[in-house]
Amino acid sequence: MTVDYWSMAFVFVLATLIGLGVIRRVSRLLHTPLMSLTNAISAIAVVGSLAVTGSDYPGIIRILGGVALFASMTNIVSGFLITDRMLKMFKRK
C-alpha cells in the first residue's frame, strides 16, 4: 500500500494552522472545557481501533484493537458529557 505522504503532510500542516487560529480565540474562561472537548475529538482514533477490531485479523491483534476501541470510546463518552456539564454552569446572569 502506498501512502501519498506529501498530501498527508499538507493536511497536517493546514489542520494545525486552522487549529492554532481557532483555539487562540477560545475564551480563557473555558480552557478546562476546551481541554475535555479536544480530548473527546481526538478520540476519533476510534475509527482506527474499530477497523482493527472488526476486520478478519488474528484474535490477538483484534484484542489489541478492542482495548484501544474501549479506551477511545471512554474518552468520547466522558469527554463530551463532562464538557457539556461544565458549560451548562457558565452563566452571565
Binding site: 481541554m35 479536544t38 480530548n39
Partner: protein
C-alpha cells in the same frame, strides 16, 4: 477508501472545527459540544459500515464498556476534573500505542509490501508518543488524585535528566534501527523494546514534576496525545485522524505556551527544571510579624469597600470553599460593593480550573476577570481577599532574583489599599516568610480553613444586615 468514508471525513472535520470555533464564547459553547458529537457519530457510522468489518460482537462489547466507564467518569466532582483530564490523555495515548503495535504485527503477517520508510517512521512515532503519554498521564493522574504510593512532590536525584534523556534516546535509536530494517529477525525480537522504553520514559518524565507545574504538564501531555493521533493517521492513511489529532495537538500547544508564559518558564525548564526541588530562599534581614484580623473586623472592612477583588488559588479548591466564596460575592454585591474574582492562568491544577469551580458555585462569568485585565485596576481596589492562593500573589516574583518564582507575572494584590489573606495555620514553616505579601503593612491575616472563614464572614455580613 470508499467515497462514503471520504465524505464522512470532510463532514466530521468541519464539525470539529466549528465545535472549537463556538468555544470562543460561553454563549455558543454548548453548541460546540453538539457539533462535536455529530461529527463523531458520522465518523463512527461510516467506519462501521465498511465491508471489511465483519466481526461486530467485540465492537459492541468495547463500545458498551466505554459507556459503562465513561458515564461515571463524566460525573466526577469538578475538583477532580484535572485528574479525569489526565486520565483521558492516558486513554488517548494507550489507544494510539495499541493500534500501532497491532499494525506492525499485521504488516509482518501480510508481507513486506507494507513497510515503507515513511509508514514505519510514523508507526514508531505513534508508539513512542502513545505509550509515553499513557504512563506519563497515569503518573500525573496518580499525583493529582494523591494516590499513596506516588509522591506528590517533585522527586529529584543526581543525573536524573541524563537518565531520562538516555531512555528517550534509547527508544528513538532502537526505533530508527527498526525503521531501517523492519522485517529483520532481530527487529521483530526487539520491537517490544520500543514500547518498554517509551512506557518507562513516561514514568520518569513525571517523577520530577510537582503540583504547581501540573497545569503546564497536563497541557503538554494534551499536545502529545493529539500528536499520537496524528501519527496514527499517517500510519492508517486516514486524513480525519490527522485533522482531529492536529486540532487537539494545537490546542495542547497553545495551552502549554499560555501556562509557561504565566510562570515565566520554558517547556524545557518545566520538564527538566524540577521546580519543586528548588531551595526556598529564606528572607534575609528582619523578619516581620504578621497582623491578625478578626472576622468581625474583616467583615467591616469588606462592607465599607467599593471594589473587592477576590484572588482564588488551589487552596480554595482543596477546602471546597467556592460555594462560600459565591455567598460572600452575593452578600457584598447586594450591598452595592463591586466584587471581582482575579484569575491567574496557573491558579489550580489545570488551565481554567478556577473558572469552572466558580461557575459551578453560580458565580456569573462576568465577575471572573483575567490577570492582565484586573492588574491595572488593582490600585483602585479597596480590598484584595486572597483565598488559598500563594505564589500567584507573591511580590517576590517581581523583586527577588534567585527565587524560583522570579519573573513570573502575578496578580498585584499588594497594590490594593487593604489585603486580607485567608491562611490555614500560623505555623506552616516557610510559607509565611516566603510570601512577603503576608507581612506587608496593609495586610491582615485571617487564620483558619478557607471554607470556615468565608462562612463566618458571610454570617457576619448577613447578621449586620444591609444598609
Amino acid at each position: 477508501m470508499s467515497h462514503l468514508t471520504q465524505l464522512s471525513a470532510i463532514v466530521a472535520t468541519v464539525a470539529f472545527i466549528l465545535a472549537l470555533q463556538w468555544m470562543n464564547d460561553p454563549k455558543t459553547a454548548r453548541r460546540g459540544v453538539y457539533a462535536g458529537v455529530a461529527g463523531m457519530v458520522v465518523a463512527i457510522a461510516a467506519a462501521w459500515i465498511q465491508p471489511e468489518i465483519i466481526h461486530h460482537g467485540w465492537i459492541v462489547i468495547a463500545i458498551v464498556a466505554g459507556f459503562l466507564v465513561g458515564v461515571p467518569l463524566s460525573q466526577v466532582p469538578l475538583t477532580a476534573v484535572p485528574q479525569r483530564t489526565a486520565l483521558s490523555h492516558a486513554f488517548g495515548g494507550l489507544a494510539a500505542g495499541l493500534v500501532g503495535v497491532a499494525e506492525y504485527y499485521l504488516w509482518l503477517r501480510e508481507g513486506p509490501g507494507h513497510f515503507t520508510t515513511f509508514r514505519m517512521t510514523a508507526l514508531v512515532a505513534e508508539i513512542i508518543l502513545g505509550f509515553l503519554t499513557f504512563t506519563g498521564s497515569l503518573m500525573a493522574t496518580g499525583k493529582l488524585q494523591e494516590v499513596k504510593w506516588i509522591p506528590q512532590r517533585a522527586v529529584t536525584y543526581p543525573g536524573q535528566n541524563l537518565v531520562n534523556l538516555g531512555v528517550l534516546a534509547g527508544a528513538i535509536v532502537l526505533g530508527g534501527l527498526i525503521v531501517a530494517h523492519p522485517t529483520a529477525p532481530w527487529a521483530v525480537t526487539w520491537f517490544p523494546g520500543i514500547v518498554a522504553l517509551a512506557l518507562l520514559f513516561g514514568i520518569l518524565l513525571i517523577i520530577p514534576i510537582g503540583g504547581a507545574d501540573m497545569p503546564t504538564v497536563i497541557s503538554i501531555l494534551n499536545a502529545y496525545a493529539g500528536l499520537s493521533a496524528v501519527a496514527m493517521g499517517f500510519v492508517l492513511d486516514n486524513r480525519l485522524l490527522v485533522t482531529a489529532g492536529a486540532l487537539d495537538g494545537s490546542s495542547g500547544l497553545i495551552l502549554s505556551i499560555i501556562m509557561c508564559r504565566a510562570m515565566n518558564r520554558s517547556f524545557a525548564n518545566v520538564l527538566f527544571g524540577a521546580f519543586g526541588s528548588a531551595p526556598k530562599a529564606q528572607a534575609a534581614g528582619e523578619q516581620k510579624e504578621w497582623k491578625q484580623e478578626s472576622v468581625e473586623g474583616a467583615a467591616q472592612i469588606l462592607e465599607q469597600a467599593r471594589l473587592v477583588v477576590i484572588v482564588p488559588g488551589y487552596g480554595m479548591a482543596v477546602a471546597q470553599a467556592q460555594h462560600k466564596a459565591q455567598e460572600l460575592y452575593d452578600q457584598l454585591t447586594r450591598r452595592g460593593v463591586t466584587v471581582r474574582f482575579a484569575i491567574h492562568p496557573v491558579a489550580g491544577r489545570m488551565p481554567g480550573h478556577m473558572n469552572v469551580l466558580l461557575a459551578e458555585a453560580n458565580v456569573p462569568y462576568s465577575a471572573l476577570v483575567e490577570m492582565d485585565e484586573i492588574n491595572p485596576e488593582m490600585p483602585q481596589c479597596d480590598v484584595a481577599l486572597v483565598v488559598g492562593a500563594n505564589d500567584v500573589v507573591n511580590p517576590a516574583a517581581r523583586t527577588a532574583q534567585g527565587s524560583p518564582i522570579y519573573g513570573m507575572p502575578i496578580i498585584d494584590a499588594d497594590k490594593a489599599r487593604t489585603v486580607l489573606a485567608i491562611k490555614r495555620s500560623k505555623n506552616t514553616g516557610f510559607a509565611g516568610i516566603d510570601n512577603e505579601l503576608y507581612v506587608k503593612d496593609n495586610t491582615w491575616m485571617l487564620f483558619g480553613d478557607a471554607k470556615a472563614v468565608l462562612g463566618e464572614l458571610v454570617k457576619q455580613l448577613a447578621t449586620s444586615g444591609g444598609h
